[in-house]
Amino acid sequence: MNVYIARKLLALPLILIGVSMLVFIAIRILPGDPARMMAGPEATQAAVDDMRVRLGLDRTVIEQYGQFAYGALKGDLGISIRSKLPVVAEIAQRLPYTIALAITSYLLAILVGVPAGMAGAIFRHGWPDQLVMLLAIAGASIANFWLALMAMNTFSVNLGWLPLLGATSWKSYILPSITLAVLPMAVIARMTRSSMIEVLSQDYIRTARAKGLPAASIYWSHALRNALIPIVTIVGLNFGSLIGGAVVTESVFNWPGIGRLLVDSVRYRDYPVIQGVTLVAVIGVIVMNFLAEMLIAAMNPRIRLG
């Protein structure tokens, strides 16, 4: 266990360095002069030169990366071209909205996905199973922005039940959360089903049945424990796909989170913000993956000793 954790821990900084280098280099190989972009189209040559020195662009690339990495470690990701605010402040203002959306959609995905997967396993090959599997494979095949548009058209535009855009009240959470929950819900249902099927074929379940334990208690006591691995896997290891989904969902619903900030920044060519949001998103994914791997290893000795 300790060796496993130590190896994973040692790999972390290497990946972080690589990720930050990739983000740094991507922005540097852009066509155009960042100093001119930062200074604005009407700036004089002197102002552009001044900006170049301020941004450290007159130094070597290695020095620049060092400066960028040092700044990032101190929590300084530069200044937004569009808003002239520090990138960190922009992200800090938007991040809570993304996190809130992530939590509500994960809760929804778990509350629906786990029972659905259990039902599929219990009534294996029966109609509940077929229905769950059909919905799960359909859920994994839907473009989430299409679902969002259809839901908006029905519930916001035609029926007027729910707000159309933005984050104004608790009602604003309903459609974005559902949209974002569909994919993890489908994956959780499938994983719960297959891990339940595996458990139900074990000898100790047969023993429990032979002892005359009621079916419901067998399912709940063993299912709940075995549902944990799919949940941790989806929430932790597939966190990246949630972030990807959030980028699209937030843009459709005009949600004030970091996903929409990223898309807007690309439109305005606001490179410091693109760089900052990307870095924060990837670090979030890396940390979630790491935590999930540790949790899964703790739950499953076959992995941690293997």
Binding site: A11, L14, I15, G18, V19, L22, V23, A26, I27, I29, L30, H125, I137, A138, A140, S141, I142, A143, N144, F145, W146, L147, L149, M150, M152, N153, V157, N158, G240, S241, I243, G244, V247, V248, S251, V252, L262, V263, V266, R267, R269, Y271, I274, T278, A281, V282, V285, I286, N289
Partner: protein, 288 residues
């Protein structure tokens, strides 16, 4: 010949195995049927509809579905049915090119990594881990923001974020294959390492790699449509499904058909690839 089944379980197990085989079989038929249908529609698009997907008719805008216009018309009076059918061409090209590009780069990297080991292996896998750490869409947005929006750059971006999948898979397959006796035999016969990689490893690894490509094809279509929807991929007036919905988004409540039908087309295509991939995987998975 009479045989007595002493263990009642054997019968159930046989029946289960047969059932699973049939399910895999059914997935294969449904999945490949759907994909074949979409490919066919894309190829014979001009025979199915007489409308030009780019032809505007400003007298006929925002029409609901009718016998003349099966899916109605959009804000520029273009026939939505024709655009959806021609859109299948774009999506199929997207999948083929970006998955192909990702395989051309990823598979050799994985095989080299698995065959050589040591620091080359570690360096390649480090690069793959870095790429893999990015959420696909976020990496694609970063790349598109550098290269500029457009269909070709979008395909490159999707290929780049798919490379680690193929590199990792090929490396794992190589590690399993390189200790096989027939590879050892080839090595002792003095066959060059390069030939072993192409003729002994690659040819045996290609099956699982193709299954993987089918399983990821759906994700590729969804990612490409998402980025086009965000305005970062295919640009108007291309009848790309995601880009069409980006137009349709402005007319919710007035004309839902502009978004409804391209989205359905995406769902059916992705569903086809997912069902096919599931069937292929079940068929090839030795554990089952």
């Amino acid at each position: 010949m009479a045989s007595v089944i002493t263990n009642s379980d054997t019968g159930t197990r046989h029946r289960r195995r047969a059932l699973r085989g049939m399910l895999a079989h059914r997935s294969l038929i449904v999945g490949s049927g759907l994909i074949a249908l979409i490919v066919l529609l894309a190829v014979i698009a001009p025979l199915i509809t007489s409308y030009d997907p780019y032809q505007q008719d400003l007298m006929q805008t925002m029409l609901p579905p009718s016998f003349d216009h099966l899916f109605g018309t959009d804000d520029n009076g273009r026939d939505i049915f024709a655009r959806v059918i021609y859109g299948a061409r774009i999506s199929l090209v997207e999948v083929t090119l970006s998955v192909g590009l990702a395989m051309i780069v990823g598979v050799p990297l994985g095989i080299i990594s698995g065959m050589t080991g040591s620091y080359i292996d570690q360096a390649i896998m480090w690069c793959m881990d870095i790429l893999f750490a990015f959420p696909g869409i976020v990496l694609a947005i970063l790349i598109v923001s550098v290269l500029g929006s457009g269909l070709v750059n979008l395909l490159i971006a999707i290929a780049i974020f798919s490379v680690p999948v193929y590199a990792r898979l090929s490396r794992n397959l190589t590690l399993g294959l390189k200790d096989m006796e027939y590879v050892e035999a080839a090595t002792s016969l003095g066959i060059s390492k390069r030939r072993i990689m192409t003729h002994y490893i690659l040819l045996n690894a290609i099956g699982p790699i193709i299954v993987q490509s089918t399983l990821t094809a759906g994700t590729v279509i969804l990612s490409a449509a998402s980025l086009s929807f965000l305005g970062l991929g295919a640009q108007p007036p291309l009848p790309e499904w995601g880009a069409m919905m980006s137009d349709g988004r402005n007319y919710l409540g007035l004309n839902v058909y502009m978004s409804l039908f391209p989205g359905l087309a995406i769902m059916i295509t992705v569903l086809g690839f997912n069902i096919l991939g599931d069937g292929l995987r079940d068929l090839l998975d030795p554990r089952k």
